[in-house]
């Protein structure tokens, strides 16, 4: 059972930080995600929007990875899925923009605007917020993965070039 594995990982001191951190992360993670989704969905009504909400969601994934280690973090959102979501988010955004050509203009808000201050209002803007939210979540988490987990590869490169430099000095 995958659940058992994850449960084991949660209590295993080999992965991630101490149980204090893990408990706190488990306590706040749900709130972080709900808040991120709220910021995205209410982007057209209150301050916030796709970018701000996406950053909050990405921070949720980052906190998971920091607390529980990279295995669990990558299991929740792997680098490959992140890269596909990243690309798909942009494409959806662009397609909504292009769909405006049906009304004659690029980025025309062609959908019904609805009633002001209602959740289902403002035409295409909530859809665009969702697309941007997905993109920002995926790309910021991908940057985090690249800098932290895959970053070891880069620092190994740096070490080898330093060795080269030492070697050339000796020559």
């Amino acid at each position: 059972m995958a659940d058992d594995k994850i449960k084991k990982m949660i209590h295993d001191s080999e992965h991630g930080m101490t149980s204090i951190v893990k408990t706190i992360v488990r306590f706040v993670i749900g709130i972080i995600f709900v808040f991120g989704v709220y910021i995205i969905l209410y982007g057209h009504l209150t301050p916030g929007g796709g970018f701000a909400g996406g950053v909050i969601l990405a921070c949720g994934y980052i906190i998971l990875t920091l607390g529980f280690g990279k295995i669990l973090g990558l299991k929740k959102l792997s680098d490959k899925v992140a890269s596909v979501l990243d690309t798909a988010g942009v494409l959806v955004f662009l397609i909504i923009g292009l769909a405006g050509f049906t009304g004659g203009y690029f980025f025309l808000n062609f959908m019904a605007k609805g009633e002001i201050f209602h959740l289902a209002s403002a035409g295409t803007i909530p859809l665009m917020n969702i697309a941007i939210g997905v993109k920002v979540t995926a790309s910021i988490f991908a940057v985090f993965i690249a800098l932290s987990i895959f970053g070891k590869f880069v620092s190994a490169l740096g070490e080898s070039s330093e060795e080269n430099r030492k070697g050339s000095n000796e020559e």
Binding site: V84, T87, V90, L94, F101, Y105, F107, S161
Partner: protein, 500 residues
Amino acid sequence: MQGYYPLFTAIPLGMAFFNLLAAKINQKISDFLAFLAMASLSVMAVKMLFEAPFAYHVGGWAPPFGILLISDGLSSMLLVIINVIGLLAMIYSTKYMDSYTAKEKYYTLFLLMIAGMNGVVITGDLFNLYVFLEIASIASYALVGFGCEKNELEASFKYLILGGVASTLILFGIAFLYSLTGTLNMPDVAIELGKIGMNKGVGFVMALFIAGFGLKASSVPFHAWLPDAHPSAPAPISAMLSGVLIKALGVYSIARLMFHIFGPSALVSSIIMFLGALSMVVGVFLAVGQHDFKRMLAYHSISQMGYVTLGIGLGLNPNVSPALAALALFGGLFHMVNHAVFKSCLFLCSGAFEYRTGTRDKLKMGGLVRKMPVTSATCSIASLSISGVPPFNGFWSKLIIIFAFLKAGYTIYGVLAIFVAFMTMISFIRLQMNVLFGELPKRFEKIKEAPFLMTLPLVVLAILCLAIGIAYPFIDSVMLEAAKDTLLDQAAFLSFIAGV
């Protein structure tokens, strides 16, 4: 065409990301998709030359509230340069980039750079200009470091830091301008500035813009990043950076803002002319001693862009006679087109030589005309063109600039321009002696001509060098005259806000 004007940014942007997804399924298709995007953009860009000026309201919002896209002679000219050179560089890349990994990511960055440059050129909104400028710049930072070797990463980092400083200065300038006028729409800003007149705030904004866009255009006091960044990039990217990027982001933006928003002024004109003359002279002196083929070309880019800024600078001067100002401006714009053609040809040639010989050091090459005749012939034509030998295109534009300066009484600048043309010629004669002629080193006995997909863009560019020189009246009537008239006619620019 009019209704589809935003496609100039939408096509490359969409294809950049679609390419990444498609390459996950089939690696081979990314070559084709990228080519398709660039080919359609070039066709559209050439078509735009024959359109009357118009304004496009994004999302149907009337200016000054919505984003305004502007199509006039100047932007059409830049669109042609960007997309045609981009198409040729893209064809060249399909073969050249085989020696690198992650080709589809290269195409993504390339197309993002194109999207950013097209955006800068078509937009009529200051903040929009900044956003597209950043898209193009950030893509180019990544492309400079694409080889991931030590030198390339160092050059990329240097470029990133200085480019970041430039972007910050530009953003500051835009913020100040917004606080002064309360609008970001370019024609609207110009109208508001006309009411305010000149004050310290406006002067400060001008200084910020000259420094910021000067860094992007790498005029001399701001040039430190270019000689590192341009040689480190893969050859097609060097061609794009030197041939197109510094023009679209730097010189175009300076010209558009200074002519259309701030209006001609003697002070700005003298500053820009001084920067131009300084880049011209310093660039060529630094170039003469270089052994690295691409580094030498990069220094020559600084020097040749000096001619362009010099011409545009005199065009801004309200005190000389309008005919001479127009002539100098025309020379500057003409040289901009010519420089795009011959400099990208030279960079692609250097890439072809490097592809076969594995070195960029001029002194280690020699006698390559016997082994790589097509590449050598195109390299020769482009060298003659940049040195200003008639009947190639570089001759005419330099002649016009020099003539305008001597006639307008700026004898020192005129003489300096002649001197720099002479130094450029010396430098390129040495290049030809070292690379094309002389003795063929033993280890190059077995090399072959570069592959067809790499020589094809070279031949096209070399033919363009000759064709623009000979069929100059045609090019003049199709794009240069319109671009010049656009810049000199501020009233027409202001009328865009009313909608066409």
